[in-house]
Point group: C2
């Protein structure tokens, strides 16, 4: 971690930051229970533990006032009809935002609040997405041929809360229907008042 | 201001956000006292009040946890040998960072702390610059032919403190010397202990 100002490059063809502190890799086995089609999940896993997504982070003090930042790369693929996606999370400090700039690819950000409101925004190169405080978020790569690459930034004290999402997933799934991406209800999801 | 998540585009050729809430314009007259060459400043102003830079902002609640964001565009030009630049500022909440992604152009970010430490980082397309908490910052367009365009993001409660910089400027100036950009001492600057 540097004391003073610093800069680095995120450029074609792979957008990997020219300097970074952490490289996080998430494989199929890290997504147990996240995909609706458990049979296909098990079948795929038996053939190999595919790399689904990667995150390159620059390290900063995890305090308010700092901005944590880096690059996320979601590879193309599907489990059943569901596209490869990130685990998705709330921030531990719920009232913290996140902002994304899409560098490459095509995708969706699937979002929801603890109250059950939901939103899905499309992601394409040159688009900025603002995830307001209190919205859980998951990115989904809907392009079968290329990575979804995004620059992200969020408050230093935000933290990550994966547990809520791991329990029953998001309210909406992004699936392939007749060769195109569609947003559909998640049959495993239950409204907050029934949990 | 929107309640939920939103997205917008920042794309060639002009990178103006496809939606925004504020459009701030800074003309030569807004930079009184900022340039070293006061004679050239007055001469240019007598001929017209040039537009030096513009900021397009998305509005968010100005509280911690939110991330304020938008685009800044510094036009090409000089006053004396000094390039067109932003006013520059500390954040009112001093211990807040800012992050920039350069979309177009060539420039420098000139930075310093209240203690007199300084740093100058170059800006070019695809570069990310991190301005840590406590660092004042000013962007300078060193390309005589094109705009310097950057995406910026900073904590919602940061605020702007222009007064310290207006008094005596930054420790370093970016000037043209023999057709190239050079970082030189600001003769009007004084160290903190002497103020």
């Amino acid at each position: 971690m540097k004391d003073g100002p610093y800069s680095f490059e995120i450029k074609k063809p792979n957008y990997i930051p020219s300097q970074y502190d952490n490289h996080i890799t998430r494989h199929l086995s890290n997504m147990a229970g996240q995909y609706l089609d458990q049979d296909d999940f098990e079948n795929q896993l038996a053939e190999g533990d595919n790399l689904l997504y990667e995150v390159y982070e620059l390290k900063r003090p995890e305090v308010a006032g700092e901005i944590l930042h880096g690059i996320s790369i979601v590879h193309p693929g599907k489990v059943g009809q569901e596209y490869y996606m990130t685990k998705g999370h709330y921030h531990t400090v719920l009232a913290t935002a996140e902002i994304y700039y899409t560098l490459q690819g095509q995708g969706y950000m699937v979002m929801e609040t603890p109250e059950g409101d939901w939103s899905v925004e499309s992601l394409s190169p040159g688009s900025v997405l603002y995830v307001p405080p209190r919205w859980a978020h998951r990115s989904v790569n809907i392009d079968p041929t290329q990575d979804l690459v995004m620059f992200f930034a969020y408050p230093g004290d935000a933290g990550h809360n994966y547990a809520s999402i791991e329990t029953q997933g998001f309210r909406k799934l992004v699936v392939e229907v007749d060769g195109s991406a569609a947003v559909v209800d998640n049959p495993r999801w239950a409204p907050p008042e029934s949990r």
